[in-house]
Assembly symmetry: C2
Homo-oligomer: 287 residues x 2
């Protein structure tokens, strides 16, 4: 998106995690390589910062190819009234990062979030001289190792974390599974208007959340709104509503722009069948 810089000179994007988190990589792709960022401790803080206009955008993970949907962020999407204006998928590449001047042979400890450590088990099996040390955050472990100037330790994190904290990548892509992707949403307040019409070279996608009545075939009927209009689905997921056995919330993404006639018709039709329906956003399909 080479034009974003001119269009939106004062973008600041909130995300959860330390500087150099994978969310920052997503923010750079969705907005601008030089985007200003506001790291937050929690997803709730990310949403609050967008609501209180401390930032112009927010970037949140919504699902991971190994770990499933981030229900917490779907809950926030329902509690706050923002719009999804973009999506992107980031491959989770884990790198071994150390202070400049430290060689691989010196490394005896590697810090990172336990989930990241457990995604690099082959690396640790091949290097039994290296101890895994759990840390609260991937990028945060790079920050700590660099700030303390440790000479026998490294950290596992994104390439962006190495760049931000001045670390050197000793081993690239040491993760066991290369099919580890996280999908991120770009969020804006409802009053946001782009200065130029966004382009969608791969087409448009619309995300909705709805609940259905507690009867057999309710989802089948709901999907008829899309099937009868030849609209392709890109995601469907049920989530039980706690305290309401047999009632479900559905996350659904379909291909199309909500202002197209057949999409408008499908949404009106779905609205007749659902107890509750909310359009979360309409955005160019990501790579």
């Amino acid at each position: 998106m080479p034009n974003n810089r001119k269009i939106m000179p004062r973008e600041t994007a909130a995300f959860q995690g330390e500087r150099g988190a994978f969310s920052e990589e997503a923010a750079r792709r969705l907005l601008d390589p030089d985007v200003h960022v506001a790291p937050c401790q929690s997803f709730q803080e990310v949403f609050e910062k967008l609501k209180s206009r401390q930032v112009t955008a927010a970037v949140i993970p919504i699902e991971n190819s190994l770990h499933g949907s981030v229900h917490e962020n779907y809950d926030h999407l329902l509690n706050y009234d923002f719009q999804i204006t973009g999506e992107t998928s980031v491959r989770i590449v884990h790198n071994l990062i150390a202070p400049p001047g430290v060689s691989f042979r010196q490394i005896r400890k590697v810090y990172s979030h336990p989930v990241a450590l457990n995604q690099c088990l082959k690396f640790f099996a091949q290097n039994p001289q290296i101890e895994k040390v759990p840390f609260y955050d991937t990028a945060g472990s790079v920050k700590m190792v660099l700030e303390k100037g440790l000479r026998d330790a490294g950290a596992i994190a994104s390439a962006i974390a190495a760049e931000i904290y001045g670390g050197r990548i000793l081993k690239k892509s040491i993760e066991d599974d290369r099919q580890n992707f996280t999908r991120f949403f770009l969020l804006r307040r409802k009053d946001y208007k782009p200065r130029h019409a966004p382009e969608a070279p791969r087409g448009w996608k619309t995300s909705v959340v709805f609940t259905t009545r507690n009867i057999p075939g309710a989802l089948f009927r709901a999907l008829s709104a899309f099937a009868l209009r030849d609209l392709n689905l890109a995601k469907i997921e049920s989530r039980p509503l706690r305290g309401k056995p047999w009632e479900y919330l559905f996350y659904l993404d379909f291909m199309g722009h909500m202002e197209e006639e057949r999409c408008r018709n499908a949404l009106r039709h779905l609205g007749e069948l659902a107890d509750f329906l909310r359009v979360l956003g309409c955005y160019p399909r990501g790579a």
Copy 2:
């Protein structure tokens, strides 16, 4: 299930994690309060132990109400040919645990997995004198604090972990969100036959995985197999097939026993519409 002890005197259940993990709580509920257990480092090891007959059963988490489906275990379910014979949902209750004789006032550090630490943020906000220290495992942090006999430290984990390692619960249920449930499956080899017919007071559930052809309305048609027979769905989730844009794997659970006539008909109908279909198991619906 009070009769299990007599029925299966030599049950051993494999699960991922240290002794005292939430999976052990699920194993006790699904099998027997005194079940023998085989803790494993990875989910892969759990499946291998069941395959090689080192254990009679395996207990795996399949979805969490905050974090979504555990796709890795769905992948293992497809790669190994076992059967799901039970399910249960465990509420994730985090407790502050310390060695006997250590009082709450002495605690300055609390060890646990970062995910658990982040689920107790209100507790840490109310107790700023206590430092969060990341550890590789919840139950493992109790084991470490007890083995080292630390006098200024505690750990956050399940009540079972306190019991197993001889810790004392200083604060019960310090998690921020009480609506944090993990659903577990009980797995058996295909040649397993229960000595007595299992009971299903809340009815039966059947879990299937299928893929559909890459055409609009494919899922709609697939769901017709259930809707036209008034079979209630309990879960539906799409998962993109990597490297095959527009092709999806679907996880689907429906209410009913696969040997009932209308369920058999629905599965045969689904088989006509799906490129690939596998019944993962048929089991009494959990609480």
